[in-house]
Symmetry: C2
Subunit: 413 residues, 2 copies
């Protein structure tokens, strides 16, 4: 008896398997059909059948379900290619809306996007020296405003994503956000309770990486490294087309990668950390010791100041930027050797100094990186500007909604 109970317990523990049956076949095929519609919209049923290899009848029935579920629309007939004119299908990007929040060290940027990631509304606010509760208030204000501004739609707000500058574990707890002075903060349940929709908390660099993959320069690539250079440096990893989080969600902490074993000690206890040489922190410090006149005291302004000076051709400013660029190159070189990515994207605040950083970075990589690793490699700056992270978390929310929408039995409204 005891033996049996023990075994059943063991059996139960192992029962986390996905078993394959017709139901999952249907869900997968429906997902495939929807993906093709999103990707090639407008497209006909016949073409979907051609592309996917599914039978025409199967496509027809799946498409009809998707129409009932309000996820796609039929528009008028398309052009004939020698026979009956096809009925064109479109993804119904207005079936619902996602909220994406980039919660920065001294700002909150919020966007409302449709299901295709188009920004419909945008709200921003700045702050300094607020504690957790006060920031939460600001956050709720932004979200309230975005939700209020959302057009009427079948599904309404489908989810909220929040990117934060800190370490987030797999349970969406914020373990540490040094620059916000947060430790072990449970933001997700707080927001989820207030708004009653799924909430996703993600590290800012991870969110940015995903944003770039979905909407930016990385659309066609599967191995993308997003280097977020702000006050510190964080890295988001898209490997094999998926966000890689590591064992506990702490991957990409490359700001604390040693690039100089004999270098100065970092706050983290380690020596010669990359972010001591290539972050905004470094730029400001170098600027100060180079005696660059930087009008204000506030951080945000002074990165701007360096850029302004560089625009006028100030030698010292140019020198500081060149140095930072070279050091960025050092770390990126390491990243390339580790990951052999298709694409490295540099984003966040530093991107505004792009003009002066590109030459030293490229020069370093060309000289220092193994030739074969440079094959098929692109290095670029973010073209989503400041929106990478906000769009990324919004996309997470959207994706989760669509996934659950397709796999639920009770999917019809």
């Amino acid at each position: 008896m005891l033996y049996y109970k023990k075994r059943m317990k063991e059996v139960k523990r192992l029962k986390a398997n996905k078993t394959w049956n017709q139901h999952v076949v249907k869900v997968e095929n429906k997902t495939l059909v929807l993906e093709k519609i999103i990707e090639h919209s407008p497209i006909s049923r016949a073409d979907i059948a051609g592309i996917t290899g599914l039978n025409k009848g199967t496509v027809s029935s799946l498409v009809n379900e998707l129409i009932i579920e309000n996820l796609i629309n039929e528009s008028g007939p398309g052009k004939s290619s020698g026979g009956r004119r096809p009925v064109m299908l479109h993804f119904n990007q207005l079936a619902g809306y996602s909220v994406g929040i980039d919660l920065g060290v001294n700002y909150i940027l919020g966007v409302l996007t449709d299901l295709n990631g188009n920004i419909c509304v945008e709200k921003q606010t700045g702050f300094t020296g607020l504690d957790y509760d006060e920031i939460l208030m600001e956050l709720f204000h932004i979200i309230d405003a975005l939700i209020a501004a959302a057009p009427k739609s079948p599904y309404g707000i489908v989810g909220i994503g929040i990117g934060v500058p800190g370490i987030v574990n797999k349970e969406n707890d914020i373990l540490l956000a040094p620059n916000l002075n947060w430790r072990n903060v449970h933001l997700k349940p707080a927001v989820e309770e207030k708004y009653g929709v799924p909430v996703i908390i993600e590290n800012e660099a991870n969110a940015g990486a995903y944003g770039e993959k979905k909407f930016g320069a990385g659309k066609t690539f599967d191995n993308i490294i997003y280097v977020s250079v702000g006050v510190g440096i964080g890295v988001g990893l898209i490997l094999n087309g998926k966000l890689y989080r590591g064992n506990n969600g702490f991957s990409g902490e490359l700001g604390h990668m040693t690039i100089d074993v004999n270098g100065p000690t970092c706050e983290c206890g380690n020596r010669g950390c990359w972010e001591l040489y290539a972050s905004e922190k470094f730029l400001l410090q170098e600027a100060r010791s180079a005696g660059l006149k930087n009008g204000e005291e506030e951080n945000n302004a002074s990165l701007q100041t360096i850029i302004e000076l560089a625009k006028t051709g100030d030698a010292k400013a140019l020198d500081v930027l060149d140095k930072a660029g070279r050091y960025l190159g050092v770390g990126i070189n390491n990243i390339i050797h580790a990951f052999n990515p298709d694409l490295v994207i540099i984003g966040n605040r530093i991107a505004s100094a792009k003009t002066w950083l590109i030459p030293p970075i490229h020069q370093w990589i060309e000289n220092q990186t193994l030739w074969f690793s440079q094959k098929d490699l692109k290095i670029s700056f973010s073209d989503l500007l400041a929106y990478s992270a906000a769009l990324g978390v919004a996309a997470f929310a959207t994706e989760q909604f669509i996934k659950s929408s397709l796999s639920d039995e009770a999917s019809a409204l």
Copy 2:
């Protein structure tokens, strides 16, 4: 007309999709059943149904097919747990054999394994200064001997895997093996033609990583970094349970990661590369400049010499090893911050100096690595000794055989 042709071409290009139907359901479920048998052997049909969630009848029919295909066996009845005694099922690990080759800089190690990765026969040879054709001869000798020694089995030799100390792209071409002086070598077709079985060429570190994942310390983990420290340093990455190869198969070239921007120039053109500080190369160089008496000239012997000296308590030898250990720690610290792995395994030749390397490595990590990244993290040395890579490539071959065996229609003998 032209328009249509153009479109059909486009359609064909996109038709690389896996379409979901009953057939794949069956293949997946059959794979699942076989996996559980391999994992929990001996196990009854009833327990498989319990673990997988599949229906008893489904399991019965899949099991019967597997028996016909010679992939599993029935043994006598097991212990009753209050009712009819179950018929126990076993994986038929002797249904075929794989050849695994570790092709080193100055040696070839070959193993013949059963389908469970147990080593049945082992052959080894050493050489120096041979060119490609001569090495190929040696290789064929080893493979011939292993195949000749293989017991009779239903499937015979199911595949050959070869691990090489160089850069291998996704098409199994060896682009560069600096220490063998190979460049753009097409080993796979040569071996495949001679033996008429599937051949897999893989980078030695990748192979080692996979070997450790399947048979070594990494069995229960999904994110494993295998650091192969020999003459140089190569790293194999198991991420999300799968080998990560990067865009072109060049991932893990971390021997050329900069850990000292102001350090000496490496052969590769970069500065302060990790392998200048922590490889066998470094050990020997340090030993020389420390005036360590090292009897012979040959590489292999002199690492041994340092170890022998360390055993006698020689202060200089201990100092050299301690230094190497610290530098190993520097690189591993970077790896941890990048990947947040469950497990870091240090393997290849350096593993024989394990005793003296463990303390400095652990000390460095404890002091320099962010606290949260140390959570759930294990660092250990290979316990497969010199077999990691050979077992890994053999396992690749085995896995490919089983996969094709399950998905083929004509699977019955």
